[in-house]
């Protein structure tokens, strides 16, 4: 029985039986896709299991990768104009060679949308880390910046398209050194708003990041032209 269970787990795309300590939160979009597919199956509606209509991309496997990076400093007194610095790291090793990446969406949850805590306007910068040895807990030297976005408070989840970056990481895992995230206070700091600023930065220390990856396994999904024929 153990042997056959192992074979079936391989069929499910698992090398061994997972033993998570606790379940990770499932994002709303994955819940919705799951529920839509269940409803369609119950009513007998035919489904294209290789197209994720909720995301508008082809694919048959959705993965939510947790951030395995670390805060460089936070919730202390903000230094200069920097409110938060964090290394984001996503392990793409679960994506098999046979799979094609069709979507990689970085989600940064900055906390609940609340108008109670109107704080200073922030600026969010994302850079690729290009120098190795970032795990020494020293601040990595940021490489090419590819996102610089103004963040008017309050904010919920911000999304960024990382498909091109994720393709590079997936093809060359040694290039996956992570992302350097920095949240800065926009404009000149008024000494009178220091308290508010500290509270804002402290709240950001609970920032949660994840990468939603959609892949297509051509072995399980024939091309659309073939299916039509």
């Amino acid at each position: 029985f153990q042997f056959q269970e192992h074979v079936f787990l391989q069929f499910l795309g698992l090398d061994k039986m997972p033993s998570p300590q606790k379940f990770q939160p499932v994002p709303h979009i994955m819940k919705k896709i799951f529920q839509d597919r269940e409803a369609a199956a119950t009513t007998g509606v035919s489904q294209d299991l290789c197209f994720v209509k909720e995301l508008g991309v082809r694919g048959n496997i959705l993965r939510l990768l947790p951030d395995q990076g670390f805060f460089l400093y936070s919730n202390n007194l903000p230094k200069d104009s920097s409110c938060l610095q964090k290394l984001l790291y996503f392990n793409l090793s679960a994506v098999k060679d046979t799979e094609q990446l069709t979507m990689a969406l970085l989600g940064l949850d900055l906390g609940p949308n609340t108008y109670y805590n109107l704080g200073p306007e922030l600026e969010l910068a994302l850079c690729l880390v290009q120098e190795p040895h970032v795990w020494s807990r020293s601040i990595p030297k940021p490489g090419k910046m590819f996102v610089l976005q103004s963040v008017p408070w309050p904010q919920g989840i911000l999304y960024f398209n990382l498909l091109d970056v994720a393709k590079v990481w997936n093809n060359n895992p040694q290039k996956n050194l992570g992302l350097f995230l920095e949240i800065l206070v926009k404009g000149d700091r008024d000494p009178g708003v220091n308290f508010q600023l500290e509270a804002t930065c402290a709240r950001l220390s609970r920032l949660h990041a994840s990468l939603l990856v959609v892949t297509l396994n051509p072995e399980q999904c024939h091309s659309s032209s073939r299916r039509r024929r």
Binding site: P18, P20, Q24, F34, I61
Partner: protein, 114 residues
Amino acid sequence: AAIPAPNASCKNLCHPHQLFINFRDLGWHKWIIAPRGFMANYCHGHCPFSMTTALNSSNYAFMQALMHVVDPTIPQAVCIPTKLSPISMLYQDNDDNVILRHYEDMVVDECGCG
């Protein structure tokens, strides 16, 4: 020669039977987030020659059943799934990734002799 009437009553003929797979029974509830289980069903029952046309049989099953009548060492056609449908599964792997995948051919919708 006349084909003998089947011994089996209608309830013993090939048809889908309900089977709920509860992931807890397999210990898989520890890593599968949803669903908790699913109605997989299974096929079981006789496939007598006289009923091959009525039991959603393949042409091959018909020929095999015919040959079984001629030569009983050739086994009868067997009751197998003829229509299957997929399920979706949300689970967590060993890297704490949350995964949503769709698996084809997991639920038996119809059975027939083949």
